[in-house]
């Protein structure tokens, strides 16, 4: 079972890596968006899928990262990729300040607060807060990223940058899932009180995962700014948060392959059905309802944890 899954994933990854060779520029660009949403989805998956915190305002942290990159790049001409850690830090710090007083709230209260934070950030950006966000027009003229002297300009080049980052994220988050930290998150998702009773500092873990997810979204914001070279508040609306949230649940909450599949379905499929223009969102909404009714664990739910028992070492 595990073996055959691995083979399928490897084959699919190889096909994906070769896809710029046979796809036209438009579709490569769609795959770039899919990649960005995959990273965003994976970062939100830590919060929603693994820890069970309702966060419907993830776009706020994405926005903080993107704007940090854009402001520092356009004002001080710092190469944009160098700013990735700064973007992560600023989004993480913002999340820590916001989440510290509210992280103990019960599920739905937390949900509306995160929606509220998302809206406040969007409105602040539109109102040109501190005079540095450029108001409703946003910021333009962000410079192209360069890797070892090669300036990344074409969608095919971005494709490899973005999907390299997806692979890196998958690797790191997979390690995180298997770690003590990941197990603690799953425990407090399944039973908050029992976890607290077994000595897990639940508020600490909730806050830590919230900040980590937000920081990751902030770093993704940097790549988004670099790819678009122009960013505006409308790219960070409530709808973006809904897309990130939904792709996790549809794909399989708590499952890395599920989230990536979700990104393909949610970002890729609507592009494929562009011909149906108006009705596609209608079908999309109905599909969300149908999916939840007939397969609510998502398309690729996480496999149960397996541990190899080595009796020898246990006895000693």
């Amino acid at each position: 079972m595990m073996k055959s899954r691995m083979i399928i994933y490897i084959v699919l990854s190889v096909i994906l890596l070769c896809s710029p060779l046979f796809l036209d520029t438009y579709w490569v660009d769609v795959l770039n968006s899919v990649g960005l949403y995959a990273i965003l989805g994976l970062s939100l998956n830590l919060i929603v899928g693994h820890t069970g915190l309702f966060n419907l305002g993830h776009a706020a942290f994405y926005a903080v990262g993107a704007y940090t990159a854009a402001i520092l790049n356009t004002r001080f001409h710092i190469p944009i990729l160098w700013l990735i850690p700064v973007c992560g830090l600023s989004a993480g710090l913002f999340a820590a300040i916001i989440a510290r007083p509210i992280i103990h709230l019960r599920g739905d209260y937390l949900c509306i607060v995160t929606i509220g934070v998302g809206e406040i950030v969007r409105i602040a950006l539109i109102n040109d807060i501190f005079g540095i966000t450029g108001g409703a027009n946003g910021i333009f003229g962000i410079s192209r990223p360069s890797v070892f002297g090669l300036i990344i300009r074409k969608p095919e080049q971005f494709f490899y940058l973005i999907w390299f980052l997806v692979a890196l994220t998958v690797f790191l988050f997979d390690q995180l899932e298997k770690s003590r930290f990941g197990r603690a998150l799953n425990y407090l998702r399944d039973d908050d009180v029992a976890a607290e009773g077994s000595g897990i500092d639940t508020s600490h873990y909730k806050l830590a995962v919230f900040v980590l997810g937000a920081a990751w979204a902030g770093m993704t914001g940097n790549i988004f700014a670099a790819k678009m070279t122009i960013i505006a508040p409308e790219s960070f609306s409530f709808w973006e948060s809904v897309v990130m949230f939904t792709l996790i649940i549809l794909g399989g909450s708590g499952s890395i392959p599920g989230v990536i599949l979700g990104a393909f379905l949610l970002v890729g499929l609507p592009e494929a059905f562009r011909g149906f223009a108006n009705a596609r969102m209608l079908v999309f909404g109905a599909a969300m309802v149908g999916m939840m009714i007939f397969r609510n664990q998502g398309i690729l739910p996480p496999l149960p944890r397996t541990f190899s028992i080595s009796l020898q070492s246990d006895i000693q």
Partner: protein
């Protein structure tokens, strides 16, 4: 002072509308522990149905303006209530035993579906309500002129809320609704048909939301298929503010939110109007995590 009074009455009228929508959220949440994200779109449907009925059958020409509007309100409320029940049957009922995240996603899906249905039927542009239905007069109270419309809106929402309050507190069905909200299992054991209670909740909540939609159409004169998001979000904020699941809390939360927002827009900054509501919400939840009137629940172990 004049300015203050104008803003205050405006806030009360808008707050009444928020409160009506918030009731739908809070009643559904009380019984099902579900955030009905599609509720804002039921509100939009109410506004559009009101416009359709007005312009297609010329209700007000046959029976006079005041009776016409009353009849219109009743028709809209009935229709939106039925749509609410159908929505529950189609999107929520199959998910009663599922994890709560699935129900939330189903609600988001239903919201997208309804919003796009409205867009496909009526188009994406703003639609305008006929302006001559209710007389555009102002009434003088303490030397300040207040538009009649504003007073009517506030009166109607208060009457509807009082009616609901007495229905919930004094009738048998109301008692059943309260019982199901406290403990569904125990309510079932006491012989309460919980499925029927849920159906009634999905009849009443959306019909109040539909009435609010009609009011917004009459008050502001123009409607759009996306307006349900903003009003829904504000009303949900109001419901949380009052302590979700708590019916008088939703009423107070709505009115409070409307007034705070009107005051904030007038004296702080109009550009930040939509952010004020959320800032207030976050501040209140920091100090009272279950809202202003929410009961303090002890964690059960």
């Amino acid at each position: 002072m004049e300015e203050f009074f104008q803003q205050f009455t405006n806030g009360l009228a808008v707050g009444g509308i928020y409160a009506l929508i918030a009731l739908g959220y809070t009643m559904v949440y009380g019984v099902l522990k579900l955030i009905n994200f599609a509720h804002g779109d039921l509100f939009t449907i109410g506004a559009y149905l009101g416009l359709s009925i007005l312009s297609s059958i010329g209700l007000t020409e046959h029976v006079g303006n005041i009776t016409g509007v009353l009849l219109l309100a009743v028709m809209v409320m009935a229709l939106v209530g039925i749509i609410g029940v159908v929505l529950d049957r189609a999107a929520y009922r199959p998910l009663r035993e599922s994890p709560r995240l699935s129900a939330v996603v189903s609600a988001l899906g239903a919201s997208i579906f309804l919003q796009n249905t409205v867009m496909l039927i009526y188009g994406a542009r703003f639609q305008v309500y006929p302006q001559d239905i209710l007389p555009k007069v102002a009434i003088h109270i303490f030397g300040v002129s207040v538009p009649l419309m504003r007073i009517l809106i506030l009166m109607t929402s208060i009457i509807l809320m009082l009616a609901l309050y007495f229905f919930i507190q004094k009738t048998r069905i109301g008692t059943a609704i309260r019982a199901a909200a406290i403990d569904q299992g125990a309510a079932r054991l006491m012989g309460i048909d919980v499925d029927k209670v849920i159906m009634i909740v999905f009849l009443i909540g959306p019909s109040l939301g539909g009435a609010a939609g009609l009011m917004v159409g009459l008050y502001y004169g123009q409607i759009n298929f996306t307006m349900g998001w903003v009003y829904g979000l504000k009303a949900f904020t109001a419901a949380i503010l009052g302590g979700i699941g708590n019916i008088p809390g939703a009423m107070m939360g709505g009115i409070l939110l409307g007034v705070i927002e009107a005051m904030g827009a007038a004296y702080l900054s109009i550009a930040w109007k939509d952010a004020i509501a959320f800032c207030v919400l976050i501040l209140i939840l920091m100090f009272r995590p279950t809202g202003l009137f929410g009961e303090r629940v002890a964690e059960k172990i």
